[in-house]
């Protein structure tokens, strides 16, 4: 199964509640996938600043003096905010790639969850309520976000196998379904220079979209391409720095409901996930069509 929730806010007044709204939506979807949960939240940071979200199995070791060590490696100030097994490192936006390379040297055991100007990703094994509490997601503000609760099929239940997957700057993707040609597509993407952290099918979907965006395609074009090049079942929800997109495979057996008001666009695997959103009674609620790309950008 798997459960997906997503929110793209149009009304800035809702931004302080984004984390709380997404948390509530994600917890409602717990019985669609209790293995692991994750959330990607986008917020407008300070101009010129970038963020790396990193994860460690041994945070007490890896995060000790991490900001100072990274500052020494980069020669620029680094701000660090630790949340349980994850830490957000703030560096100048132009230094994100340099910071990524430096981290591979100074903390080789750490994993990079996301990198970009707006995105932060938190994901772990466990129930949505526990994962959300661990990272205090309900307190987070932002412009848009995506959550996922996983029932694993194609790869092991691990932190890195949880969604969202981020394979490009400020990009993330979550998936309900399973891809059947992911090994072939992964080989092709590797040849084109993309790198992979897992054997997971969804990571291939994410990297496929990231590669298209890297080639200069729009989010809409990249999502259109999934319909011809990816085989299997999928409902994808993707996030970019300014955008939010949805696409379902032509068979469309993985459920999806969307709602739109003047204040937001919302996605849920089921209508249950949307029932507590403000103004849902008068929202336009619809099921996204198969093989049809939907996206919103600021």
């Amino acid at each position: 199964m798997c459960g997906i929730v997503g929110l793209f806010l149009k009304d800035p007044k809702l931004q302080p509640q984004l984390g709380a709204m997404l948390t509530d939506m994600l917890i409602t979807m717990t019985d669609r996938g209790p293995d692991s949960a994750g959330i990607a939240i986008y917020s407008q940071g300070k101009v010129g600043h970038g963020k790396l979200t990193v994860q460690s199995a041994t945070p007490e070791v890896d995060f000790k003096n991490l900001d100072a060590d990274l500052k020494d490696a980069l020669g620029t100030p680094v701000l660090m905010l630790v949340k349980s097994t994850h830490a957000v490192l703030e560096v100048p936006a132009g230094q994100l790639d340099a910071a990524r390379s430096a981290l591979a040297k100074i903390r080789p055991g750490m994993k990079i969850m996301s990198s970009g100007e707006g995105i932060e990703i938190y994901k772990e094994v466990g129930l949505p309520k526990d994962v959300a509490a661990r990272f205090e997601v309900a307190k987070m503000h932002g412009t848009h976000g995506i959550g996922h609760t996983r029932m694993a099929t194609e790869s092991a239940v691990t932190t890195m196998g949880a969604h969202p997957f981020s394979t490009g700057p400020d990009q993330c993707l979550v998936h309900n379904g399973s891809l059947s040609n992911h090994n072939g597509v992964r080989r092709e993407l590797k040849r084109l220079g993309m790198t992979f952290e897992t054997e997971n099918d969804t990571e291939v979907g994410a990297a496929f979209v990231s590669h298209k965006l890297q080639q200069g395609e729009t989010l809409g074009q990249a999502l259109e391409a999934t319909l011809t090049d990816l085989d299997g079942f999928f409902t994808f929800v993707v996030g970019t720095k300014d955008g939010f997109g949805v696409v379902r495979d032509p068979i469309a057996c993985k459920p999806a409901v969307m709602a739109e008001t003047d204040q937001y666009v919302a996605f849920g695997s089921e209508y249950r996930a949307l029932v507590n959103l403000p103004g849902i009674e008068s929202a336009r609620v619809w099921e996204p069509e198969p093989a049809t790309v939907y996206f919103w950008e600021r």
């Binding site: 459920p255 089921e270 209508y271 949307l274 099921e287």
Partner: protein, 229 residues
Amino acid sequence: MQTFDLEAQGLRALNQALHNLKGQTNETSWEVVNPKGSHAIAVGVDAPIDITVRGSTGYYCAGMNKQATIRVKGSAGPGVAENMMSGTVIIDGDASQYAGATGRGGLLVIKGNASSRCGISMKGIDIVVHGNIGHMSCFMAQSGNILVLGDAGDALGDSLYEAHLFVRGSVKSLGTDCIEKEMRPEHLAIIADLLKRGEADHLAKPSDFKRYGSARKLYTFNIDNASSY
């Protein structure tokens, strides 16, 4: 009128209360409030009662219904009225995937759109959709009637047996062994009856529709294909 607050009292209590109604009862009118997209609302009812659900429902609402009239004042999730036996189910909004799947009897009315696989493997149910139906609808439909006032998606009636399909709008594509057929007076009579019972006689007239059915080349035994069986 019995009012049941699903959020406060819970799904099992609702369905147990409805299952306890056997044969004749004085509790003939039920209202379910706060459905909030919950699954399996009013499944397996077997009594001549009226149930109104005030809001949208999740998976499998009104499944296996016998005798009851169930109205949803909202939209329905996947599998609404799945395997219905008799009675009537009316959805004011849209219905998700496989509405009325495998239905044996009764009437399902969807006043909005139905998505993919509407009436898949239907076996005697009547379905009236005021809007459109999605792809793969009526796949392997065996008997019963479906009346669609809007359009049909891809592969309508694929591998069809003997169900009657009536569509007013466009059909994106017909499935294997499904063809357009001539409309005879008895079909117009079926449509007129469905329009009336489906609360749609003010929206369309029988002559607006086209009939689709099985070419009977796929499921009947053909001696020329004996070596393939």
